[in-house]
Amino acid sequence: MQTQPVVAVNGVTKTYGKPNEKQFQALKGVTFSVQPGEFVGIMGASGSGKTTLLNILSTLDRPTAGTVVINGQDVTALKGDRLSDFRAKQVGFIFQDFNLLENLTARENIALPLALQNVSHAKQTQAVEKIAATLGIEAVLDHYPTELSGGQKQRVAAARALVQEPAILFGDEPTGALDSQSAKELLNTMASLNQEQDVSILLVTHDPFSASYAQRILFIKDGQIGQELVHGDKSQSAFYQEILDTLGTFQQ
């Protein structure tokens, strides 16, 4: 018997614009699944529908048709408080543009999801310090976002997404605003979280290097999944090369 997938996407379409306005179909029937503990990358050209897909998966937006099941829960049916609680507990995400609250310190930002569940202060501190150590941001915990570098901000955002130990972590180009060194550090952290703590990760990117960290890559083109690459036993550099080749042919 196969284990239940952590994310199961079935025939998802998304059409922007109201029926009487100019319409645009950004997703044209997407189907795939992510197994527990998997690290999956999603690649595609600009405007291919990556962010649209991720927003639907992470319950920020709603598909026009199709279903999204996360951890056994059909998220398209969620509403109100149950939707909020689902976001707070089951999914973590790192946005393209950090999305930290600039009036809270890094520590307060990270602790926020725990505070929302009324976890005791002692437990909050403990959890925040643990995740901060994992991500290497202990030294800047009491800084405000404006006092952090881009890489630090992104790691604080990652810490906030992970502190609740969600079933799945979504990342939308989390390395997009980072220099290559910071990007590498964040990706290494994500990879070790995935390997050591079995966090399932779905990473959207158009950077081949970031994608080479994934175990499996889905290529999306014009709102549809076109091709799939599996890392398997290949070395990371070999996989990276394969991604580059695929991109070359896929984009044409």
């Binding site: 937006d61 709603r62 939707l83 689902f86 809270l104 307060e108 929302l116």
Partner: protein, 601 residues
């Protein structure tokens, strides 16, 4: 080109400009309203029995100028916060400093001038509306009251123009001095609360001392005269500011350090929201507290004066209206009286030399006199037994039981038998007592006028009616009540616009924060609660301090009102209800801006 850029900026942030603009319009409208009274000496002199009134208004002017100044400075900071990114962008694209300064000048001054023009028009409208409404409600003559008042016009324009030219210069200098990077990132930079403990402590102590001096000064109005008001003005304004500065910073710090509290739900976020902009909060909250105190104080005193009128009239006469041989018209009017608590009929017999009361009738229903005896007002019931004793003192009370034609006749009480036996005409006298004289003012006026015409009463000293006394007292006090209510309304409008402005001007910055919170899974109900708490704090603190100010400030009216502290429940109740409604409205407006509908739903 520059003009196009300037206008383009306005179009792109229309809502923020609308908030800014309407705030300034209200400020100038209120400024005009106040000046329309304060600079109208003839009005002040003829409507107030107190010679100090013009001086008091002079101090009021100073206070309003301070308040409006803080308001305008704040509005300008807001204007700049909206524009500085754009300006920085222009500068990055190569615009020269002088051009930018010019741009700022055009924008700032035109916003100010336009607000003043619209504000003055609205101010006149409000002055007319509130003025006429109050005049008819209070039956106040309000002589020399004028909706269009040139000095007020000049004052308002002069003040606003001066303020905005000054603001434009300051804005330009500040902008050109600020490093480009700070301009591009402004408004996202949080204010760390890094005030030293000792400074906080000194401010707190100073605040208490200043407030104590101010409160004390207000009790010494009789001794210190004008000095008292001047001292109170300075100390209370400063004390309020220091108190908020120290108290709020301390309180937020305390709550944040209390980890059990801060670690729950959105508490940290709410507290940070407050401390994020603590500096302009304290200034605005001080202004709000002052406005709250002024509005509530004016309303309370206005109501106090209004209450004084029937209270004083009540001591003059037990009966609200008395009719003698009422004509059909008078009787018809009498039927219109509402809330009649007592209505008594007496039969008089008019002989050649005298007007008789029947002793039996008086025994069954004694007359009621209000007499000033042994230093205090007394209510006495008069029958045949004591009639002779009170007839002398109570001549003013008996006047209403006679008509001018009775001048040569004596009022007498005779036994029932003598009453029957006496030859002469009988006539019916009716006395009425009503629950609320002011509510029956028009009816009573009709009845009294009818009676006066019927019996040829020419002057007020021939009529012993309460109406005559009431009208006299009314003419003295309703002017003061009018000023109280008028200013109460004006300050209330300013209070509302200040708070609304403060809260809504931050809303567009806050919106992104709330969206983010929604994305990471904060329940909408929790977000709403955070909004309610944050805005609640902004309403509560100035409210409490404002009430305290008023409670002490009423001391100043001890000489003018018999009981300045009597019946506070009504004005305070009205005010608190209005304030609460306003709070609910603000929360609703703010929520509709910052809490977006979830796209998932």
């Amino acid at each position: 080109m520059l003009r196009k850029l300037a206008l383009g900026g306005i179009r792109s942030r229309f809502r923020d400009y609308a908030v800014l603009f309407s705030g300034l319009v209200i400020a100038s409208a209120v400024f005009y309203m106040f000046m329309a009274l304060a600079t109208n000496d003839a009005f002040l002199k003829s409507n107030s029995p107190v010679s100090m009134t013009s001086f008091i208004f002079g101090f009021g002017e100073v206070l309003l100028v301070i308040i409006t100044m803080v308001y305008i400075v704040y509005a300008n900071t807001f204007l700049m916060s909206m524009r500085q990114r754009d300006y920085a962008m222009f500068m990055m694209l190569g615009a020269k400093g002088r051009k930018i300064a010019q741009l700022i000048f055009i924008e700032t001054v035109s916003v100010g001038l336009l607000a003043a023009v619209v504000g003055v028009v609205i101010g006149m409208g409000l002055t007319g509306l509130a003025g006429n409404l109050l005049i008819s409600m209070l039956h106040a003559p309000a002589t020399h009251f004028s909706v269009f008042w040139a000095p007020a016009l000049l004052w308002t324009f002069g003040f606003f123009l001066a303020m905005f030219v000054l603001a434009a210069i300051v804005n330009a200098i500040r902008l050109l001095k600020t490093p480009m990077l700070d301009l591009l990132h402004a408004a996202t930079t949080p204010n760390r609360i890094q005030q030293k403990k000792t400074v906080l402590f000194i401010q707190a102590v100073l605040a208490v001392i200043l407030l104590a001096i101010g409160y004390w000064a207000m009790t010494q109005l009789a001794k210190l005269q004008m000095m008292a008001i001047g001292v109170a003005l300075v100390t209370i304004v400063l004390g309020t500011y220091f108190l908020f500065n120290s108290l709020l910073v301390w309180l937020i710090g305390l709550l944040k350090r209390n980890q059990r509290f801060a670690a729950r739900g959105l508490h940290t976020f709410t507290l940070s929201q407050l401390s994020f902009r603590i500096r302009d909060y304290t200034k605005i909250l001080s202004v709000v507290a002052m406005l709250f105190a002024l509005a509530l104080g004016a309303l309370t005193v206005g109501l106090g004066f209004q209450r004084e009128i029937p209270e004083m009239a009540r001591h003059q006469n037990a009966y609200d209206v008395v009719t003698i041989a009422a004509s059909a018209k008078t009787q018809k009017a009498a039927k219109q009286l509402t809330g009649v608590t007592a209505k008594t009929a007496y039969t008089q017999k008019v002989t050649a030399k005298a007007v008789y009361f029947d002793a039996d009738q008086l025994k069954a229903q004694p007359l009621q006199f209000e007499l000033f005896d042994q230093g205090k007002w007394q209510h006495v019931t008069v029958t045949a037994k004591n009639f002779a004793r009170y007839a002398e003192d109570g001549d003013s009370q008996l006047l209403q039981f006679r008509i001018p034609a009775d001048n040569a006749r004596r009022l007498q009480v005779v036994s029932h038998a003598a009453f029957i036996a006496a030859s002469g005409q009988t006539r019916q006298v009716m006395t009425y007592q009503v629950r609320n004289f002011a509510a029956n003012y028009d009816t009573i006026e009709t009845m009294v006028t009818q009676q006066n015409r019927q019996f040829g009463v020419k002057s007020s000293d021939q009529s012993g009616q309460k109406f005559t006394v009431y009208a006299l007292i009314n003419s003295l006090y309703s002017g003061l009540a009018f000023m109280g209510f008028f200013l109460g309304i004006a300050f209330l409008a300013m209070l509302a616009s200040t708070l609304m402005f403060k809260i809504l001007s931050g809303a567009s910055f806050d919106a992104s924060r709330y969206t983010m919170l929604q994305k990471i899974g904060v329940r909408p109900s929790l977000l709403r609660r955070s909004v309610r708490q944050e805005i609640g704090a902004l309403f509560l603190f100035p409210g409490v301090l404002g009430i305290t100010h008023v409670l002490f400030g009423l001391n100043m009216f001890k000489g003018l009102l018999q009981q300045p502290y009597g019946n506070l429940l009504l004005p305070f109740g009205i005010f608190i209800v209005l304030y609460a409604v306003y709070y609910a409205l603000t929360v609703w407006l703010y929520e509709s801006i910052v809490i977006k509908r979830d796209r998932h739903e």
